[in-house]
Amino acid sequence: MTPDPGHAVLEVDDLTIALPAGGDRTHAVERASLVLRPRETLCVVGESGSGKSMLALALMGLLPKGVTVAGGAVRLEGIDILKLRAEAMRDLRGRRIAMIFQEPMTALNPIMTVGRQIAEVLESHRDEHGVGTGAERRRRVLTLLDSVGLPDPDQLIDSYPFRLSGGQRQRVMIAAALALEPAVLIGDEPTTALDVTTQMQILLLIKRLQAERDTGVLLITHDFGVVAEVADRVAVMQHGRIVETGPVDQILARPAHPYTKSLIAAVPKLAPRAARPLGEAIVLEAAGLTKTYRRGGRLFSRGSLVKALDRPDFRLRRGETLGVVGESGSGKSTLARCLLRLLEPEEGAIRFAGTDLMALGSRALKPFRKRVQMVFQDPFASLNPRRRIGDIIAAGPRLHGTPKHEARARTRELLALVGLDPAVTDRFPHEFSGGQRQRIAIARALALEPELLIADEPVSALDVSVQAQVLALLDALRQRLGLSMVFITHDLRIAGQICDTIAVMRHGRIVEYGPPDQVLMTPQNAYTQELVASIPGGRR
């Protein structure tokens, strides 16, 4: 594996990127070296804060203000692009090196038609490729839209981005990026915001286009599943340094660096847990819940109706963990909030320990609030930034009449239970990392000693290694406290690891229901089969 500069399309040599003074780190990237060849896919893997996105932006010459290159060289087809003037770099961008971003929802201009946005790329490099007339450009755009697998290009070219789904928008971004057949395509987490099935389609699309055009692809990702799916070679980043580089098979099978080992070990495997004996007592039963949202529609138009919940019936036994899996829009978060009556379902019954919660008014509901608690997805949004940790955790017990000193003592116990220093009660949420915040959120939910915990994607905003810790914590607490749990996730691997039963949701309905080994290994429903097949890295 000796780098051959003659064939390298992109070479990063000893690149150091300095951060503005006063931050907690002096360098975003330190002495990174990489080589990318035509037709090759190089995956740069790392957790949040590893500097991988800064590296990508530096390659495009798009570093944010205040962040500067402090040393090293980036050679694109032999030209050191760091030495180029802004004008010359602008010419290369889009023509020889292009980028696709993480968030397809915001990467497209909402008030410009899809066709215009792609044509813009062609216009700004007109001289070189001679795509002069409007009609010619339109033909090129149509061909591009067709080549990225978008249905009905003739109609799509004049549509606005809001009509497109996330996956379709990402295809448009790819079409724009590849419009001038650049030698290098950089993808910064291009599939992270997408559902698994869409993710798989986009990854396959990139692979196909790459083979057709001999493009070198540099893919920034945090997901080893994606790596296993598409990478030829892998570079692992930690704290701004590249700690290990090698062919994908070697990295995945025989990682050398301890950090790589820990990362790979933390990746959830598709390995259903062994069945546990469960009692017969039913804690929670959902029967015939429906919830309809009206989409669009103003004063004079009705808009369309979307059934978010369409009778997803289930029964949860005491001590059981039910995994609710599904893609975005399947209604799983609506289900979680309806179970707590944070949203009002239109009809149906929620029987908790024999009482129908739907029949209760808000005052009668209060005692039940104590017994059912929720953990939210985003620990950065679920803690009030203006309140101290101690107050946040003690809020529940105080509301239900626990005396102050008792609630304080309980808070310290809980912090110790979730693995935090009990002395942190006077701090504010912003002083903690994502994983620590999620521990605080779990402590808050447990403060009322609930019987049932509803967790809505509790780990999807966290890095893999932190994810594994929080999952282990939830599992340990469930065992220790005898909790029943409804665990909502989009990740089948995680569901398989910690759930006793899995319910697959689609369009507000449960399409498949059963123990993990059955649902994940021998799925009956066509949609479940598609989901399982789309798990990234699943084929290795």
């Binding site: 909030r337 707590l340 944070l342 509901l365 209060k366 609030r369 104590k370 059912v372 608690q373 929720m374 939210f376 997805q377 985003d378 949004a381 679920s382 803690l383 009030n384 930034p385 203006r386 309140r387 809020a395 529940g396 509301l399 239900h400 110790a416 239970l417 979730v418 693995g419 935090l420 220093d421 942190v424 701090r427 912003h430 002083e431 903690f432 990392s433 994983g435 620590q436 959120a441 808050r444 009322l448 594994a468 810790q469 929080v470 282990a472 914590l473 599992d475 340990a476 065992q479």
Partner: protein, 298 residues
């Protein structure tokens, strides 16, 4: 399994203590030079207002010298007016009235505005519609005209002036608070509080309002400035409290003699200008200090 459990339960230390609340705030505020100058001027006006009875124990209405004394006359640094009253005494006592009216009417407007805004934003639906239409009704009437009408109906006293200014300035607070509450209401930490069983009032006061504090503080500092202007304008038109000396009244009285005795109108005018400018600078500095992320972009 127990290995992972222990690992999961083991403490990982939080990052070393950052941000010292108040000191950090002062440092960010001081970065804006204009804001520091504004704070100094405002402090000067406050000191002047506080010490007015000591500096000029006599009533500012009292004739203490010959009429039409020029500025820098002995004993009368800012001169005297047509009746021989000391302009400097008038400005010192006027500062008390201006600051009092400015701050109390702002408190009135904030109380009305925050209450209505929080209720409208939190409940939404019909209640929101009703409150916002009511607010818009007030916004369609020019504020100054409404204030004139209110003061004229209630007879000009300091209380009626304060109330009138409060009534014309609350709508902007309501709109601001409503918008903030509307966006905060669906945040997860508010939903979490509902899930804990907290009541509406507790959620509004402990979860939502503390998060709207910084824009309200900034708005309030600017509202004090506009309240001072409103009061001056009312006094200028002769609708001020007849028992209290105020800057607006002094300008109004000196207006007809502008060519004969310019200092009668100019000095109170400068006092208004400096105070209002200082308040605006302070408001901007507070904005920078309370929203550091926005400030850094400049």
């Amino acid at each position: 399994m127990s290995d992972t459990v222990d690992a999961a339960l083991r403490a990982d230390a939080p990052p070393a203590a950052p941000l010292g609340g108040l000191r950090d705030f002062v440092r960010r505020y001081a970065r804006n030079r204009g804001a520091v100058a504004g704070a100094v001027v405002l402090f000067g006006v406050l000191v002047l207002a506080a010490t007015a009875p000591l500096l000029y124990p006599a009533s500012p209405w009292q004739m203490t010298g010959a009429p039409f004394l020029h500025p820098f006359s002995p004993g009368f640094p800012l001169g005297t007016d047509s009746l021989g009253r000391d302009i400097a005494a008038g400005i010192a006592h006027g500062a008390r009235v201006s600051l009092l009216v400015g701050s109390v009417s702002t408190v009135v407007a904030i109380v009305i505005g925050v209450t209505l805004g929080a209720v409208a934003g939190y409940h939404g639906g019909v209640i929101d519609d009703a409150i916002m239409r009511f607010t818009e009704f007030f916004q369609t009437i020019p504020g100054f005209v409404l204030a004139v009408v209110l003061v004229a109906i209630f007879h000009p006293t300091i209380t009626s002036i304060v109330i009138a200014i409060g009534i014309v300035s609350w709508p902007s607070v309501t709109r601001l608070v409503r918008g903030q509450v509307l966006s905060l209401r669906s945040r997860e930490f508010v939903v979490a509080s509902v899930a804990l069983g907290a009541g509406t009032l507790r959620i509004i006061f402990t979860e939502i309002l503390p998060n709207t504090l910084s824009p309200i503080i900034v708005l309030a500092s600017l509202m004090v400035a506009s309240a001072i202007l409103l009061e001056s304008a009312l006094s200028f038109l002769g609708l001020g409290d007849p028992n209290l000396m105020s800057w607006g009244y002094m300008i109004g009285a000196g207006r007809s003699l502008l060519r004969l005795a310019w200092w009668m109108a100019v000095f109170p005018g400068v006092a208004i200008l400096l105070t209002v400018l200082a308040l605006n600078l302070v408001g901007e500095g507070l904005n920078d200090a309370l929203n550091p992320r926005l400030a850094r972009r400049r």
